[in-house]
Amino acid sequence: MGVLLAILFAASVAVAAATGRMAALTAAAMQSAQQAIALALGLAGVMALWLGLMKVAEEAGLVGLLARAARPLLRRLFPEVPPEHPAMGAMLLNLSANLLGLGNAATPFGIEAMRRLEELRPAEAPAGVATDAQALFCAMNTASLQLVPASVLALRAAAGSRAPAEILGATLLATACAAVVAVTAAKVLRPLFPVRREEEGRP
């Protein structure tokens, strides 16, 4: 991200030098910085409403209920994890919290899941290399199956959309595609990434 930003800044200045728009560039940089703070404040109301609601859901035990519903699916995806192992519980809670958009709650569950999966590492697998279960779990997490993307909703409301929520169905469909591809790819690509490299010389 740092590299990307540096390149974007430098490219803008270079192009502005070529097109003679240096003054406009400076003004735009200052204006944009102000707009960023205004935008974040515009988000704050909807984010507070949503995370407040989700905290209520969490205390009412909705995360646990979702976790129970997702258990059969996760058992099938992780046959190498014993169903009653704590790793299974932590993964279920992580995915359920993510589904509700509870990022703050999901991360500790996710880290706990990774630790518990570490306990299941086969004796012959070298440390510091992801096991199949850990790779699949992380890949699933990067696809962000989420029922209501609150921050996008907040941005749309702040921008004065006529129907901020009209993109929810479309988002759910798109994120479901991403999740299916994540799981399939993590399973299919497994043979290409052996736990041990055949030759030490390979990068």
Binding site: L8, S12, K55, V56, S151, A165, G169, A170, C177, A185
Partner: protein
């Protein structure tokens, strides 16, 4: 049929959750108001926490636009992007989304302001932002927590999922909002 179901889900999801969750919580004897206030505080903190990345990304985009670099890039890439159904203002999102969650919100905010939230570009940016997570951040946090340096199939699988999420966003937005 599917389109109708998705429209219905979009319209009803938020109101149902707003009414249903507090009632459900009451039935389970949760102290609803203190819980709400605690969560809302986290929501406000989130808004404050994303300010720094938002400043960085919006300044970069503002400079790109003012210098004329965005028009140049858009002109050069227009034939390719046009065929893929991706308007030029949405292009930065493809780069930023896997790297920074706050940055991605910055790009979406920029598109919504410049193109309007109910335009094709505005809807597409909204759906794309919600279709995947901040891939590199998630991998770094979870793998790093247990000292794993070799991610194996996790990285290509995650990046393929990002690409699939973006492609699906284009298809779904085009189908649902003609």
């Amino acid at each position: 049929m599917l389109r109708h179901a998705l429209e219905l889900a979009s319209a009803w999801a938020v109101p149902l959750l707003l009414a249903g969750i507090p009632l459900f919580a009451l039935a389970r004897k949760v102290k609803v108001y203190p819980a709400f206030v605690e969560g809302a505080r986290q929501g406000f903190e989130t808004a404050v926490r994303i300010m720094p990345p938002l400043v960085a990304v919006l300044v970069a985009l503002g400079m790109l636009r003012a210098s004329g670099a965005l028009d140049l890039a858009a002109g050069a890439l227009a034939p390719v992007l046009g065929r893929l159904g991706i308007p030029a203002p949405v292009l930065p999102l493809l780069l930023v989304r896997p790297l920074s969650g706050g940055g991605a919100l910055g790009v979406v905010g920029d598109v919504l302001r410049a193109e309007g939230p109910d335009s094709y570009a505005g809807r597409l940016a909204s759906v794309m932002a919600g279709s995947t997570e901040t891939t590199f951040y998630v991998l770094a946090v979870y793998m790093g927590a247990v000292g794993i340096g070799r991610y194996r199939q996790a990285l290509p699988a995650a990046l393929l999922a990002d690409a699939a999420g973006f492609a699906a966003s284009v298809i779904v937005v085009r189908a649902l909002f003609p």
